[in-house]
């Protein structure tokens, strides 16, 4: 990112090659629309190029995935697909917490780890992350009590964290 901040187009191209699948994948999972996912991908990377200071520190992949999800949520809201959404306009704070994901993390390995979770834990996690809905909407969608949904989210995330212990660390 230092080279990108110095307006190095070659460095930006390397950054794009490394992270475009993550950005596009997140947008596509949220929107289920290839054209809209490309629009999000273009908007995210051009925003990074025009204002690289937006990324301050921490893990770039985690940050850019959050930006992609935010952008995709904006499109969901603008389409009024979720007129009753109560999602917070802000995403969780991370600035005080240094999050480091080791370089060998890859999407396929994580996908396999997610598949190892019991469906009742995987489903609310994926609905929450990619569906752009709140915990009570997840409860209504799955027909489970709200407390059960929250406990399953926590248990599922802890299992996922443990499954990825070799590739994810803090």
């Amino acid at each position: 990112m230092e080279r990108v901040r110095a307006r190095d187009a070659d460095a930006f191209e390397v950054l794009y090659d490394q992270y475009h699948r993550l950005v596009y994948g997140v947008a596509f999972r949220v929107l289920s629309d290839a054209t809209a996912a490309e629009d999000v991908t273009q908007a995210v990377f051009l925003r990074i190029w025009s204002d690289p200071a937006l990324f301050r520190d921490g893990n770039f992949g985690a940050w850019v995935a959050r930006i992609a999800r935010n952008r995709a949520y904006d499109i969901l809201r603008s389409r009024a697909l979720h007129p009753q959404s109560e999602l917070p306009e802000t995403l969780p704070i991370e600035d005080a917490i240094e999050e480091t994901v080791l370089a060998n993390i890859n999407g396929e390995r994580v996908r396999l780890a997610l598949e190892q979770l019991p469906p009742e834990q995987r489903e609310p996690i994926e609905l929450g992350f990619f569906g752009g809905i709140t915990h009570d909407q997840i409860a209504r969608t799955t027909g489970q009590p709200l407390g059960t949904v929250k406990t399953r989210i926590r248990t599922g995330l802890r299992r996922l964290r443990a499954a990825l212990q070799e590739t994810v660390t803090v």
Binding site: R7, Y16, P88, P92, A96, E99, V110
Partner: protein, 239 residues
């Protein structure tokens, strides 16, 4: 389950980003005082990041994923390289002159005669003014200036500049975002995001054309910016 176990469940929902705003604010406040919950949050955040990475497989052609068009990369890189090419053609000036001119221009804009301001100007401000056109626009007698409580919008030709002072750093995970209202439009359009420097001064050239702007506004938005304002604007300037 103890009441604190329920709080830990809420921390997990918060880490995943599925809490409504009011509950998220409660968890944020609790995290400030509870080390156990902070540790839980630290533990779970990488798992949430991993969920994002699971989507990467959707765009991995080696596992049958849906991929972005190669034309997308071509479009993006064409714009990036066009910009760098134009920057290389820009005339160069003595760094000392440029810095002095930038400091002078911004000092005039914010209406401050206190020379200590120049010491507050951060590198971003100086870099933003590293174009002779910018300096000429800011100091030209025929530029149009629209003041508001903490700054000013300056227009000259089709160019628009926004400068603000005495700004606080945005909340964690947030940035300031400028908005423009085109003549005849009913809704604000998103413009640049920015953050003030250490001296609380921000200076940006907006990409929109001044010829069609009826108003400029600024609001606090999540990092990456928004397509529509999500908070009440802190400044609105009618042109």
């Amino acid at each position: 389950m103890t009441p604190h176990d329920e709080l830990l469940d809420n921390v997990a929902a918060y880490a995943l980003g599925v809490l409504p705003a009011a509950e998220a604010a409660d968890v944020e406040a609790h995290l400030q005082t509870c080390e156990q919950c902070r540790a839980e949050y630290r533990d779970l955040r990488p798992a949430v990041t991993a969920v994002a990475y699971s989507a990467e497989a959707c765009a991995d052609p080696t596992v049958g994923g849906v991929t972005a068009s190669p034309l997308l990369k071509a479009r993006i890189m064409r714009r990036v390289r066009a910009e760098t090419a134009s920057q290389r053609k820009a005339p160069r000036y003595s760094p000392a002159y440029v810095l002095a001119a930038a400091c002078l221009a911004v000092a005039i804009l914010v209406g401050l005669v206190n020379l200590s301001l120049s010491r507050k100007l951060n590198r971003e401000v100086a870099q933003s003014a590293l174009q002779s056109q910018t300096i000429a626009d800011l100091t030209a007698p025929d530029s149009r200036r629209y003041e508001f409580s903490d700054g000013m919008v300056v227009m000259r030709g089709d160019r628009v500049y926004l400068t603000m002072h005495d700004m606080h750093a945005p909340p964690p995970g947030h940035v300031y975002q400028a908005w423009t209202l085109a003549r005849g439009a009913k809704r604000m359009a998103p413009s640049m995001t920015f953050a003030p420097g250490n001296g609380g001064v921000a200076f940006v050239k907006l990409p929109e054309s001044a010829t069609n702007i009826a108003a400029v506004a600024v609001s606090v938005e999540p990092e990456g910016g928004s397509l529509q304002p999500t908070t009440k604007p802190i400044a609105v300037v009618k042109i």
